[in-house]
């Protein structure tokens, strides 16, 4: 496996939660200094989490949606030139999760906003030359349940609307040369094997995202899952965890922060319990040659995380 092609997700930068110095992440200068540092840590490609929220508060220094890129760089092409100047030669993928829009009891608002911005994100992914567009098919289960207490009774119609949304995206993705992949988070309405409720109704061009930590937390055997669905994998996220969901945290409104016991659910790759070298070896043995993206979501120190991941990858043979 070509380790040099592994991407790093920009989700290692904490955009949303309180910590000292977090405010600098809203400034353009921070990101433009970051790209050469990412490159210096051995990564030449990045993944961008698409976040519409930055266009609403005038915080367009955060390069995570089309509005921000157009505000600061005028075009995606100009932004790619800035990335290249910093040693980042490829945007491997763009991710999108719809949690922002699950904020009231109006499903019309949720699906309207999610559909609009997911389509925009997909188009942005194409403009950036991304290989994949990875979408989370649902918000946090517990957040949906908070605003829709009859969630289980409404699950069928909710699923139908999600499917309709994804079918539209699948057609646009195919037309624009971007691979649509479905994320499989432990907190999703479509967690674990439930993802096939959606995937089986979608064209073959739509693939699975294998996220090592999320699948593990959901109680899925990584090796069994990978082997069983190897021909449907469109993207791999190398994430790590030591979290065991013994209290049904996945059903809570804020599942990445277990309310019964504080813990860092996602650990820096190489510092949790998942045998990532074994996963990489398995995928290699199966002939997988698609995108591999490292993610240090929730890291306490993004720069240490970059080097921790590089140290881990350095232990592997190219």
């Amino acid at each position: 496996m070509n380790l040099d092609a592994f991407a790093i997700s920009l989700d290692l930068i904490n955009r949303h939660y309180q910590e000292p110095n977090r405010n600098r992440y809203e400034g353009k200068y921070f990101w433009e200094e970051l790209y050469p540092l990412i490159s210096a840590s051995g990564f030449r490609s990045i993944e961008i989490p698409y976040e519409p929220v930055w266009q609403f508060g005038g915080r367009s220094g955060v390069p995570m949606n089309r509005y921000c890129i157009n505000t600061k760089y005028e075009t995606a092409a100009n932004y790619r030139e800035v990335l290249s100047a910093g040693g980042i030669y490829r945007v491997a993928g763009v991710t999108f999760d719809p949690n922002l829009f699950m904020r009231n009891d109006n499903l019309g608002f949720y699906f309207g906003a999610t559909g609009h911005f997911a389509n925009e994100a997909l188009a942005h992914a194409a403009d950036l030359g991304a290989e994949y567009f990875a979408i989370s098919p649902s918000p946090y289960y517990g957040r949906v349940a908070h605003y829709h207490p009859n969630l289980e009774a409404e699950a069928e119609s909710f699923t139908e609307r999600v499917t309709e949304l994804l079918q539209g995206l699948a057609a646009k993705a195919e037309a624009s040369g971007v691979r649509l992949v479905l994320r499989n988070e432990f907190w999703s309405l479509f967690r674990g094997e439930r993802i096939f409720q959606l995937l089986d109704t979608l064209p073959d061009s739509v693939k699975l995202d294998v996220d090592t930590a999320n699948l593990t937390i959901a109680g899925i055997s990584l090796s069994d899952f990978i082997v069983a669905h190897s021909n449907r994998i469109g993207c791999v996220h190398l994430t790590d965890t030591s979290f065991e969901d013994t209290a049904e945290t996945w059903r809570s409104p804020n599942p990445e922060f277990p309310d019964n016991r504080a813990t860092q659910v996602f650990r820096d790759p190489g510092t949790g319990s998942i045998d990532l070298p074994q996963v990489i070896s398995l995928l290699d043995g199966l002939g997988y040659q698609g995108p591999m993206t490292c993610s240090a979501r929730q890291t306490r120190d993004p720069f240490r995380a970059l080097l921790r991941i590089r140290a881990l990858l350095n232990t592997l043979q190219n």
Binding site: H16, Y17, Q18, E19, P20, N21, R22, N23, R24, E26, G27, K28, Y29, F30, G57, G58, R59, S60, G61, T71, K72, L100, R103, G142, R143, H146, P253, N254, E256, F257, D259, R261, A262, T263, Q264, R300, D301
Partner: protein, 307 residues
């Protein structure tokens, strides 16, 4: 009881936990200071310890706070247990100049008032409309429409025990050329004013003159300093100027900028202001440090003038 009570405008980013009971274990997971900024219990204790007895909620935090606590009432009770009361919530009256937007913007304002009542708050400091960029310059009719919206929301707020306070940002479509005209068009019985000391100075108002002229309209303050008073149109009317590309800060802790805050306090004494003052730390890299610095400056420089 002092004449001025102090609150914090909530600029904490998302706080993911209510209370961390396994604090030591959480700390040891990666031995960083994340544990110190991850739960409301701890954050509210910082406020309480530093003498900030009130908190003004930010509306963009509701999507996290409400699922975390279940209801505004639960959050208010949780804060009160730690010595902090919710004094109100910020609000943005987006596109209030658009006639065809009237019903929507008034409805949104009324809903925000309802939310504040549930929190037990009394103030709704309100940005009158969108940024100048993309909306300005406003015509006289536009300004009148903005005022009409504020009067309508203000009537509902007043009926529900909430004071709406106009809060002008330096980059708002209501800006220096029409700021005072806009205030004059609102009904003083229904619509009050929250002076953001730095924002009005950056916009180009002289802070002391402005307070002197409108002291009887002032419901509350957002207190912060600036070293960037009287910015030109090219800055105020630019796209997304609030976060500068190069990291320049518009806002500083009281005493670290150039505003005549002692002069302001002398005027507060002259006009016998009584009420809440929300300190704001937007732009600060360290909210706790800013809070402590502010407390020191208040106690040594400003409160001796008027308390």
């Amino acid at each position: 009881m002092p004449n001025i009570r102090y609150a914090n405008m909530c600029h904490w980013k998302s706080i993911p936990y209510r209370q961390i009971d396994n604090f030591r274990d959480f700390y040891y997971e990666d031995k960083t200071n994340s544990a110190y900024y991850s739960d409301w219990d701890t954050v509210l204790k910082y406020q309480s310890a530093l003498g900030f007895d009130g908190i003004e909620i930010a509306p963009w935090d509701l999507a996290d706070i409400l699922p975390l606590f279940g209801s505004p009432e639960n959050f208010a009770a949780f804060a009160k247990d730690r010595g902090v009361e919710v004094i109100g919530m910020f609000h943005g009256a987006h596109a209030s100049q658009a006639v065809d937007h009237f019903d929507e913007v008034v409805k949104s304002g009324r809903e925000a008032v309802d939310t504040i009542v549930k929190f037990g708050g009394e103030y709704m400091n309100t940005c009158p409309t969108n940024n100048y960029y993309g909306s300005g310059p406003l015509t006289r009719d536009d300004v009148q429409q903005c005022a009409k919206v504020m009067n309508e929301i203000g009537r509902y707020a007043t009926d529900n025990g909430v004071k709406i306070g106009l809060h002008n940002e330096f980059f708002c479509a209501i800006n220096l050329p029409n700021h005072r005209e806009f205030i004059e068009l609102t009904d003083p019985k229904l619509v009050h004013y929250c002076i953001d000391t730095a924002q009005v100075a950056i916009m180009g108002e002289d802070l002391l003159t402005f307070y002197n002229d409108y002291h009887d309209r002032i419901s509350t303050f957002h207190l912060k300093d600036t070293a960037s008073a009287r910015q030109p149109d090219s800055v105020r009317y630019a796209q997304d100027p609030e976060i500068a590309d190069d990291g320049t800060r518009w806002f500083w802790e009281p005493g670290l900028g150039e505003l005549d805050l002692k002069g302001l306090y002398r005027l507060l004494k002259q006009h016998q202001f009584k009420g809440w003052m929300s300190v704001e730390y937007d732009g600060s890299p360290d909210m706790l440090a800013s809070m402590a610095l502010t407390r020191y400056h208040l106690d040594t420089e400003l409160r001796p003038i008027y308390d």
